[in-house]
């Protein structure tokens, strides 16, 4: 089985993000592998270990992704593709999906595993849109995966009514949730070996496509500005008569926070 997994370099969300003049303050930010994609990588590596699959990762944009890709190599991924092109700056999920489509078509993959969403965009769309473009079956929010045979996999999806058990015919696309596994620490030995491994870096032309074809120039939506979000601060603290303040809080929960 040949697996393609996507890996996006995103801002480390442990850091405090400052917004100034409608833009994110870049100073002091560090970039890391998208948490969900780390799970995708771990899923791919486990499939390699258990079912002998061949694994490839693809990363789009992000500048110098060498460290991130090497870390994935150290986790066990065998091949790496990095698509970097100056026109990809304002790419949205649809553009990413188009580029991924081109990457997919260049290879011969049976299964595409992406993270459920990216921690910078919070979108959760790319994997599903890719499946539409490729005309492949897709299950999102997967929390368990099992290989049935060369042509079929069984996945568990965390749905609204419970856990959905779905059988997929390959080739297929799955997007995984963080609860699917615990990504391993890259093996020490793997880190040493990874230093020598090559990464296949390509721009859109080398990939056999163009900015127009993937829709770079005409994104369907664009970010007009960033705004501050309320950081997690302590909210309202109530002291006093238990019955009174509890009633007050429940009222707030229902009508202000709208959680009931």
């Amino acid at each position: 089985m040949k697996i393609l997994t996507t890996v996006k370099k995103v801002v480390d969300v442990e850091l405090t993000i400052h917004v100034k003049d409608g833009a994110i303050v870049e100073d002091g930010l560090q970039y890391v592998i998208n948490a969900w994609d780390e799970n995708a990588v771990e899923t791919a590596v486990q499939l390699k270990e258990n079912s002998g699959a061949e694994t490839t990762l693809v990363s789009i944009g992000g500048g110098d992704n060498t460290d991130m890709i090497r870390r994935c190599y150290a986790m066990g991924i065998e091949n790496g593709i990095h698509i970097e092109d100056p026109t990809l700056g304002a790419a949205d999920s649809f553009v990413y999906a188009k580029v991924l489509q081109k990457v997919y078509e260049k290879g011969d993959y049976d299964l595409v595993i992406t993270g459920k969403q990216a921690q910078d965009t919070d979108n959760g769309q790319t994997g599903i849109i890719l499946a539409e473009y490729l005309g492949l079956p897709c299950v999102s929010n997967v929390i368990a995966i099992e290989v049935l045979d060369d042509q079929h996999i069984k996945v568990s999806r965390s749905g609204d009514a419970g856990t959905e058990i779905v059988e997929l015919e390959l080739p297929a696309v799955v997007t995984v949730d963080v609860s699917i596994n615990e990504p391993r620490l890259p093996a020490m030995r793997g880190i040493m070996m990874a230093k020598k491994k090559k990464i296949d870096v390509m721009d859109l032309a080398a990939l056999g496509t163009s900015p127009d074809e993937v829709g770079c120039a005409t994104p369907k939506s664009e970010i007009a500005e960033f705004l501050k979000s309320d950081t997690r601060q302590g909210g309202q603290k109530f002291e006093g008569n238990a019955a009174e303040i509890t009633a007050q809080v429940v009222d707030l929960l229902a009508n202000e926070a709208k959680v009931f």
């Binding site: 480390d12 442990e14 405090t16 002091g28 890391v32 620490l185 020490m188 040493m192």
Partner: protein, 702 residues
């Protein structure tokens, strides 16, 4: 007596012994190298105090009686060696004596008197030893046939010599010396037997049996003594009594600790090391010779188990069993290891690369493939250790348990990639954001807001760098300690700054769990930052930071004068830079942190400070000072769940509760967390306040 017979016995016994010893030494030489032949004067002192002086036995309040018992057996042994030589001589020539120890010299008489008393004392000690083992049965000991056998043999040695001399006395004094036995009879000092009352008493036991019986006793006791001794000699290398021979060298060669010895810095760039899996210890042949000697020397006394916080809370880390299992494995592989060493030494002389390759293959085939962890030692055993070093503190023969455990963890981590996965979040957090909780590095200096503190980036021309540490920066409870310390420094007018968000975890726990790669990465980054700012002196409130910065950074290029806040505050008090009102009421006790006390020898300064702040009495915990009981967080255990046995922090908290105090002072953020948690769990957090030294001082400052 019989020169031919005695020559024969000596030759046979010594040949066998020599052969055994040769094998044992060869095995050690074939193991990995260790740099221990240095600082000879200091090593000699250690040997004199610990081994000859039996300091850890006689000098330890606990079980002093058994310590004295053993000390006398040992000293007796040493003193009686001279006697033994005389006896062997007697086998060749009647009345043989060593120079200056014959009948013409006072020294000779003094010696026989001494020998007499000593033999009696040793015999009594042996009886006491039997009694302890068989009747009192202390928990730490385990009774084996070997133990009783050796006691028996020593008993026989003493008894036989006394009876030999007893028979001599009878024949000489009572039966008019028919065989013309030689004895001291100098007119100035009198008869030998005036000086040996014990032998005379022994003589009276057999005096009534007649001249023939006594002559028989003379001969039999003589040969019994000789043979027992020669058999005993050959039994020594075979079991735990090898320590009789190896203890002195082992103590001589023991680790001199910081600053003489630092943990071995692994070269992670060395590809060959990755190839033959020689980073850390995974297989028995990777031990170094000192570690091999340690294994030979374990006396199975069990003192390590008694003080080990994990063993006493029912975790599977039984240190003497650990030693024993490794020793068995080592001995089983002895032949291969020796062969391997021989082949390796020939490689130097060979030029032909094909031959070298072939040799390398042969060598590889001789390497033990058995994984020590998993096949010889259980995983839980290895990871239970908190690296507190209580075991090393009490071991009478100075075995170095903890570095071996750390090296095995390195092997597991780096080579076998097997380690408790629950460490992942703490390790990932460290890698990414420089702290075990993975909190954004940009928040590391948030605690300092409003406290008017400079960062090195603002002004590096300060006297001290205050190294805050991860707990002090992020943990709510520890932040209060940092704030207290800052207030003290400001009050005393000390010029200092912090690194702020440029500070990263020292990497201590990464190293303790065997992740040498991550440790070196953190160290390199920190050292670069520190050197950039030309930092010379560092104050820290965390003993783990203290230990790492002070002792483990120098081999990587970071040399700083690091001082714990307890030391520093003590200096401030002594110099009068801060005044203390001694206003703390209620009884107080102090919990010695392992990394401050045992690792860095800081015991007095905290106590001196506490006496200055407290008007109540400063009580000592039962297990205090050098034998303080670990809080359970060291060795990376802070980041792991404790699922086996009783929780260590609970054990320690109960001990504190028993002491009936209102306050327990600590000097370490880990101890703070563990003990406070323990108090909460026991429901005592209102009655017994857990406070850091800095907090107590801040409250008490005038």
């Amino acid at each position: 007596m019989n020169p031919l017979l005695i020559s024969l016995l000596i030759i046979v016994a010594l040949s066998v012994f020599g052969r055994t010893m040769f094998g044992k030494i060869q095995l050690l030489k074939a193991l990995e190298p260790a740099d221990r032949v240095n600082h000879l004067k200091e090593r000699l002192m250690n040997m004199v105090i610990l081994a000859i002086g039996q300091k850890r036995l006689v000098g330890r309040a606990k079980e002093r009686s058994s310590g004295i018992m053993h000390a006398f057996i040992f000293w007796g042994f040493c003193i009686l060696l001279i006697r033994s030589l005389t006896l062997y001589g007697e086998g060749f020539q009647q009345g043989y004596h060593l120079p200056f120890l014959g009948g013409d010299y006072l020294l000779g008489y003094l010696y026989v008197a001494l020998k007499d008393i000593i033999e009696a004392i040793v015999l009594l000690m042996i009886i006491f030893a039997f009694f302890r083992r068989a009747v009192l049965k202390p928990k730490r000991m385990h009774n084996t046939f070997e133990a009783y056998l050796v006691l028996g043999l020593i008993g026989i040695l003493m008894a036989s010599d006394l009876l030999y001399d007893g028979a001599r006395y009878n024949l000489i004094q009572l039966y008019n010396n028919p065989g013309s036995i030689h004895y001291f009879n100098n007119p100035q000092y009198g008869s030998e037997f005036l000086w040996t009352p014990i032998s005379v008493a022994a003589a009276s036991l057999i005096s009534g049996l007649g001249v023939d019986a006594n002559t028989a006793f003379l001969t039999i006791m003589f040969w019994l003594h000789i043979c027992t001794q020669l058999v005993f000699l050959n039994l020594l290398p075979l079991g735990k009594h090898f320590h009789v021979i190896t203890a002195l060298p082992n103590v001589f060669l023991k680790s001199l600790g910081y600053p003489h010895e630092k943990p071995k810095l692994l070269d992670l760039e060395d590809e060959a090391a990755w190839e033959d899996e020689s980073l850390g210890i995974n297989h028995i042949h990777q031990l170094n010779w000192k570690q091999g000697l340690d294994l030979y020397t374990c006396t199975e006394c069990g003192r390590c188990k008694e003080v080990c916080p994990t063993y006493t809370t029912d975790k599977p880390l039984n240190l003497h069993e650990f030693n024993d299992k490794l020793k068995q494995e080592l001995l089983e592989n002895a032949d291969n290891i020796i062969k391997k060493a021989k082949l390796s030494s020939t490689i130097e002389q060979i030029e032909d690369s094909a031959q070298i390759e072939k040799l390398k293959e042969e060598i590889n085939a001789l390497n033990s493939k058995k994984q020590l962890i998993g096949e010889v030692i259980a995983e839980d055993t290895l990871w239970a250790c908190t690296t507190c070093r209580a075991c090393e503190e009490v071991c009478p023969v100075a075995i170095e348990h903890v570095p071996r455990i750390t090296a095995m963890r390195q092997g597991q981590f780096l080579m076998a990639e097997a380690y408790p996965k629950e460490l992942n979040p703490a390790l990932k957090g460290l890698e990414r954001n420089g702290n075990p909780w993975g909190i954004g590095y940009d928040k590391r200096a948030d605690w300092a807001e409003g406290l008017d503190i400079k960062t090195m980036a603002d002004d590096q021309n300060v006297d001290y760098l205050l190294w805050v540490g991860c707990a002090g920066s992020f943990d709510d409870r520890s932040k209060k300690v940092t704030t207290s310390l800052v207030r003290i420094l400001q009050k005393a007018g000390i010029s200092f700054a912090i690194l702020g968000i440029e500070e990263k975890c020292t990497g201590d726990y990464a190293r303790r769990v065997g992740n040498e790669m991550l440790f070196q990465m953190m160290a390199q980054e920190n050292i670069e930052t520190l050197n950039n700012y030309n930092v010379k002196k560092i104050i820290t409130a965390c003993p783990h930071c203290l230990n790492t910065l002070k002792h483990e950074y120098p081999p990587m290029g970071g040399d700083y004068d690091v001082i714990h806040h307890a030391e520093f505050i003590d200096q401030l008090v002594q110099k009068g830079k801060i005044q203390l009102k001694q206003s703390l009421a209620g009884a107080l006790t102090y919990h010695d942190p392992c990394y401050l006390g045992r690792y860095n020898n800081i015991f007095d300064q905290p106590r001196s400070i506490l006496r200055s702040v407290s008007k109540g009495v400063l009580k000592e915990l039962e297990r205090h000072g050098r034998e303080s009981f670990c809080c359970g967080a060291g060795g990376g255990r802070m980041w792991m769940d404790e699922t086996i046995g009783k929780r260590i922090n609970l054990e320690r908290s109960e001990e504190i509760v028993r002491r009936q105090v209102s306050n327990v002072a600590v000097g370490c953020p880990f101890c703070m967390t563990m003990i406070e948690d323990g108090m909460k769990e026991l429901g005592r957090e209102e009655e017994i306040k857990t406070m850091d030294i800095a907090e107590l001082v801040e409250k008490d400052m005038a």
